[in-house]
Symmetry: C2
Subunit: 109 residues, 2 copies
């Protein structure tokens, strides 16, 4: 584990949110959760690993869908409680088939 990982602050469930951004065009693709093991595997393998809160297991993006994310860079914020992962996205990031999970906009009231 890199030394900088000591600066990360996981929540009381041992998780940290990871914002996944398309390295090519800057689109925010998805937000998912990592535990320490997922961070370590992501850094070591260059593929994104997450913790599924519903299934309570580690998963590697693309293993089921084929929509692999290749990691360019992992950044962390000023207070160490959020990650920003820049990737090359193969195919769609969203399970709906949309390129990004943020395909809907709210309207001001």
């Amino acid at each position: 584990m890199p030394e900088l990982a000591e600066e990360l602050r996981f929540d009381d469930q041992g998780l940290i949110p990871a914002v996944v951004q398309d390295a090519a065009n800057g689109d925010v693709l998805m937000v998912a959760w990592m535990n320490q093991e997922a961070v370590q595997r992501t850094l070591e393998s260059g593929r994104t690993w997450f913790w599924s809160r519903s299934r309570k297991e580690l998963w590697r993006k693309g293993d089921t869908s084929g929509n692999v994310q290749h990691v360019h860079e992992v950044r962390f914020d000023c207070d160490g409680d959020t990650l920003l992962v820049k990737v090359t996205q193969e195919g769609a990031a969203c399970h709906t088939g949309e390129r990004t999970c943020f395909y809907r906009a709210m309207e001001a009231s």
Copy 2:
């Protein structure tokens, strides 16, 4: 409150994470938390409102620092548990004075 807000899923503390992105260049500036009131005020006012988990109060970005965020758009993800807020950022987004909170990168081990 817009109808679409019914599609939002707040966590068991009534909060939803909001990724704030620079509308001009796509940089991810910060991630903070909103409750329903913060979402409503953000949509109505065109300024970003958040819930401070440490101070347990609503705050409007820029009121203390002057670093105001003007909202272009609020998007939400496929499962409705994360927001993406595109803004014009005045000055720095980060309390450290950096333009973005994600000014540090982790290195692969």
